[in-house]
Symmetry: C2
Subunit: 756 residues, 2 copies
């Protein structure tokens, strides 16, 4: 076990490296040529453009103003300054809800840490188990943990009572946060301006009709069953092939532009090879080659476009049906239409940009089969993923590499390189697997057939959470592969499992402290530096960008990586809840992580990310559920640990806690969840009435006409559809937020502009 000094050393190293990242960030961000990497959100919103000062040429790229280097940490208060309503307006409710997860963690753990250090640390300290056991290696940290309390001590009552206090405090925070989020969501939906998805319902599993086309069938069905409310509908085309042609064309166009630029700079006809990735094949003139390729694709695309529009088989049995009022859309989304509940399935339509177009054609039976297969696959992925990894690791040895890449032979022959490869390669294979894991999980979610990107993100997060729970949390406690763990769990009685794990928990505190620093602190610091987008942007800027428009498109602001980020926060919250009554010393590390991440992500949300969609915090029920799961696990583990402490049957005093936790979960589910799934008729009616009064002449049909058109059918200019801009310009109800949008207070957080 590591001593206090080890921890301090490790903490200093990690603090220093995080500090290094921050320094780099502070310097890089105030350079004008990085402006689009660190402030893309403002470019996307149109409130910022390239720095075009009239000063020296150099100052266009490098910041020469020394004063700005002095207060290089001023992004932190700036990030914290923007008030929440404005932040919702600026970045959307999803982003705000996401950074509130960190806030939730802080609200839980700051009081928990204070209480732990006031009550539990003294109790642990006066226990003298570890001092008496002279032959054991122990550190001061261990003296602060529950291990130091002697078996059968009355001191354990402190842990039992505090566990109740901790749980009830967590209940309180979770409940009030859920309530706040539910209100925020309801307010957000109520204050929103007109949006196509408010009037639209996604209808799936439309049964085939021998006499009518899908479009006619939909129209007749809704004219009959919603006679007073049906407005219009849009059918869905299976344009997957067309979409792949379009994206292929875009790739080719990039290459074309690259060679064009090269030609302009060097005045020498660039050549390329026709084979894969330009790596082999006959050499040809690059510009001609890509021109002809693009030409060919253009023709293919035109043919395919015609085919999709005419071929009845290209029409998917799904449609977006729009209604005359929000009330009618809310009614249709929430009710069962057909006697057979697997036909004419309705749900609230996702935002147009949130639609995942590939998943509309799956019939109900196939859908359930897919979910079964994915559930089984997920089980195997979680518990048996080490088997293929080990297999690849056995292949990825020196000999294997020499065979595949013979040109590397001389390099590998060097002894030092060889030993590095042999030492690191297996680890790298695992790292690569872990890096592509989110992608694998996303593919699995896509196979499950969810119709919107936000739903896919949520489902992937759920899968990743399970993976982390089993393979990182349990896997670190009970060392050994998940497969071995599975065997252990199956062979142990249910009461023994928490006991077995609980006993290991205090011993692993140091490991997890290091983990929090390495993965948590450094990870967050790396997030703010945005190394990969930085490099990518400058590469693109150098080789592809010609016009201002190109530069606009070269920015890749990214967005919150919910399927990966959220389960990671949940791991830290779980660790905090588990260790709060056992090794309180771990809590400050988690608090630092949460606070740091909160500031960093607030900065990213304000300055960087461009959300892919807006689901109005639809993921909060999942967040809530996973914190409750963490709490439940922590209670079971404490129960298991205490049952080994020879305190008679006193540990049964903890038994009501898990029952209460389940009840709390069900209560909150009933109380709040439907606010995240359904749209209450009362709210819909209020908005409808207001709108009828203010804009009686509005042509809703024209407004909705092309809202749910597959993106490939829109020309790239129309891609950012007009209405979103139109809305922003003329919101239905004027809010004060719009007025404050460009207040000086806000602008002061962007040093470059305020300097201008």
């Amino acid at each position: 076990m590591a001593s206090l000094r080890d921890i301090v050393t490790s903490a200093s190293i990690n603090l220093l490296s995080a500090f290094g990242f921050l320094m780099a960030f502070a310097i890089l961000r105030i350079q004008p040529f990085n402006d689009r990497v660190y402030f893309p959100r403002w470019y996307k919103k149109g409130t910022r453009s390239s720095p075009t000062r009239s000063g020296a040429y150099a100052s266009k790229f490098v910041n020469l103003d020394c004063r700005t280097y002095l207060n290089f940490l001023n992004w932190m208060p700036a990030a914290l300054r923007m008030p929440e309503p404005e932040l919702i307006d600026h970045a959307g409710l999803d982003s705000v809800a996401y950074i509130r997860i960190y806030l939730l963690g802080l609200k839980i753990f700051v009081p928990l840490a204070v209480l732990s250090f006031m009550v539990l640390v003294p109790v642990n300290w006066i226990g003298d188990t570890l001092e008496r056991a002279k032959d054991l290696n122990f550190s001061n940290i261990d003296k602060l943990s529950i291990s130091n309390v002697p078996d059968g001590s009355k001191g354990f009552w402190a842990h039992i009572v505090m566990s109740y206090v901790f749980s009830f405090w967590t209940f309180y925070v979770l409940y009030s946060e859920y309530k706040v989020l539910a209100t925020m969501r309801a307010d957000y939906l109520a204050s929103e301006t007109r949006r196509p998805d408010q009037f639209t319902v996604l209808v799936r599993n439309i049964p085939p009709d021998p006499d009518e086309s899908v479009s006619e069938h939909v129209q007749h069905f809704f004219c009959v069953n919603h006679p007073d409310h049906y407005l219009t509908h849009q059918i869905v085309y299976n344009a997957n092939k067309l979409a792949s042609l379009v994206s292929k064309k875009r790739d080719l166009q990039n290459w074309y532009i690259y060679y064009q630029n090269k030609f302009e700079r060097t005045s020498k006809k660039p050549l390329t090879k026709t084979g894969f990735m330009g790596l082999w094949g006959t050499k040809v003139d690059a510009i001609d080659h890509y021109t002809s390729q693009i030409q060919k694709l253009n023709e293919e695309e035109a043919v395919e476009r015609e085919r999709v529009k005419k071929d009845p088989d290209a029409i998917v049995p799904a449609a977006f049906v729009s209604f005359k009022s929000r009330w009618a859309a809310a009614v249709c989304a929430q009710t069962q239409l057909c006697r057979n509940p697997t036909l004419w399935l309705t749900e609230w339509a996702p935002e147009p940009r949130d639609v995942y177009w590939d998943n509309f054609a799956i019939p109900y039976f196939e859908l359930t089969i897919r979910r079964l297969i994915i559930a089984v696959a997920l089980f195997f992925l979680i518990f048996f993923f080490m088997i293929p990894i080990a297999f690849v690791q056995s292949l990825a040895n020196i000999e294997g590499i020499q065979k595949v890449f013979p040109f590397l032979k001389p390099l590998i022959r060097i002894e030092s390189v060889k030993s590095v490869i042999q030492g690191f390669l297996p680890g790298i294979v695992l790292k690569i697997f872990l890096a592509v894991l989110p992608q694998i999980l996303m593919t699995m979610s896509k196979i499950e057939g969810y119709p919107s990107i936000s739903a896919l993100d949520r489902k992937s997060a759920a899968k990743y959470h399970m993976f982390i729970l089993v393979n990182i949390f349990l896997g670190s406690i009970i060392t050994g592969s998940a497969l071995q763990q599975l065997k252990t769990f199956i062979d142990l009685p249910p009461t023994e499992i928490p006991k077995t794990i609980g006993v290991y928990i205090p011993m692993k505190a140091n490991f997890f402290i290091t983990y929090i620093m390495v993965d948590g602190w450094a990870g967050v610091a790396a997030e703010i530096l945005r190394l990969v987008p930085l490099v990518l942007f400058h590469l693109k800027n150098t080789f592809l960008v010609k016009t201002e428009q190109d530069r606009y498109e070269a920015m890749e602001p990214g967005s919150i990586d919910f399927p990966v980020g959220e389960p990671r926060i949940q791991l830290y919250i779980l660790l905090g809840l588990v260790y709060a009554p056992i090794t309180p010393f771990l809590l400050p590390f988690i608090i630092i992580f949460l606070a740091f991440a909160y500031v960093v992500f607030r900065n990213q949300v304000i300055n960087v990310y461009d959300p892919k969609y807006e689901s109005a915090a639809a993921f909060w029920p999942d967040v809530h559920k996973r914190v409750v799961i963490g709490l439940f696990i922590s209670q079971l583990l404490l129960l298991g640990l205490l049952s080994t402490k020879k305190i008679g049957r006193n540990h049964f005093a903890l038994l009501p806690l898990p029952v209460l936790t389940i009840w709390f979960f069900m209560y909150c589910k009933g109380r709040f969840e439907s606010g995240f799934i359904r749209f209450p008729l009362q709210e819909a009616m209020v908005k409808d009435t207001l709108e009828r009064a203010t804009e009686p002449q509005f042509n809703l049909k024209a407004y909705l006409k092309d809202a749910y058109m597959h993106p490939v059918f829109k020309s790239s200019d129309v891609e950012k559809s007009d209405f979103t801009f139109e809305e922003e310009k003329s919101p239905l109800v004027a809010t004060t937020r719009v007025a404050t949008k460009l207040s000086p207070d806000v602008n002061s957080s962007f040093p470059v502009q305020s300097d201008a």
Copy 2:
């Protein structure tokens, strides 16, 4: 272990006793004076009246026609003869669905039995384990069971394969039966004539309003949020006290009539004591006493009636809101109205007679607390019920009885009586507990706050099913109290549990065969005899009945005891599924039970029961779920049993089965369940349109005016509200069923009338 001969003896005894019951039934039912006990359904329907033949006086009471005694079993084909559509019309869909549970069992087990006897019995027979183990007592039955197959034998593959065949066959039957029931329900709802619940939604948790009464608040809310559809509403009074006064008065009136009759017969003023139950206190003139008591109650009732109508506190925050069309009611029942999803909760209103009036005032938070408490209480009831029973048993010994009832002393002194008491008393205490258990479970369900009697029945059945599963099924296999079992399960690894139980399963086959005969066969035979109602009817008829109307009310046709009956069937189905691959010899006993019960309950449904409500088979999803649970348990137990048979890892070939079962359950749930909860808009629209075309002038508001009035506000004459009769006379759509209602074919099943 019992030998084949023991089983045959036991079977003969049980068959004989069942035969005795049937004989008694056959003779009793054709006596005219029992006509109202065995054919009350027809009296309730108004198609049969007291036999008033002009013949001899005796023949009014005793059947003197010898011919009818000869073919005394002709009720059986008569019971089977009525076709299903007619039966639905005659007794309602609930009854038909209930007897279809037996049919479901038959459909599962007849092919299973044939297959088992063709495939598994030979495999078991040629195994010679039991013959080689000479020292073991074994019977021919055991030679037919899986115990006879030697460890490690390839013969177990037969059991594995057959387990798949059995499961898939069960899936098929369950699926097709669910489909049939869903269609039957949809057809039933579609063919139904106008009923108040089609237009009405139950709204609960109406928030208090400082300025408006509940009634005004409801009206304004729905006028705003369902402006085109809202018709009227009825508020709910808290009339529980009034209802108890009314029921008390009815009791007193019965006593009054009893003494009045006595007086008329004996011409002697009857006396009574004023104390409890007329057992002690001062003697007074009975008729005067009860007249004054009734008078007093009348006054109290009038005061309370006025109070309830005027006191705003007597109004419960719930209402029945009616709409102009079925479509609007279906919409309102399925959608969320208010931003806070725990307010303005809507659900499809139960039938007026199905409403459970006491449960409307519970706010959401209290409701969840109640459910938590009941869940914990149910857990303790199931696992710890033996503790209070044992306590009472320890009190209920000879000495205790002597103390409480000193006058019994001389009787108890007799040695033989003493030993009988000592031997039977503990058993009787347990029997009494088991007899009142359904009542306890029903009270628990009432505390949980369900608003309709049908829901209460379903929830009680679910609780009873769990009790039977733990205390009868598992309790019989692993002897010992449920508490000990709980300890066993907690201390065993999850993989060991099916193993431990699985090993005991083959040994307990004989016990369960006896159980099926004693509890199943004899129970069904006792059901048809209706001994208790028979005695009660004749007591009432002698002491209370004066007019034809009294006699009508003295009939207690009863109804299907769903909360007790359904879980019992599930126990037999579970036994069948568990033993099908292990001891196929048990299957014929179950098949006989199911077939016999099917005929008996068909007779009861046709001739006896008067349903309390009509939920249109809303309980079928529960039935389906419990059969699936049984199947799941049987698969786990077979897996556990085979894992002890030393066949390597071959028993893992069974692992996909439980996964498939879960998937099957979820598939069916998604495919059918909403048909049992929601009312599809398409169907509602069809009925609305039809009705508007046929009866454009119908005054719906007047029709719905008093539909949902608390029964105590209706005078007893109005109690059977007019509209139900009106409907029956003029159905919206004329069906052929009405025409066949009184066809000779049907009447032939009632010997007394056909003789007239």
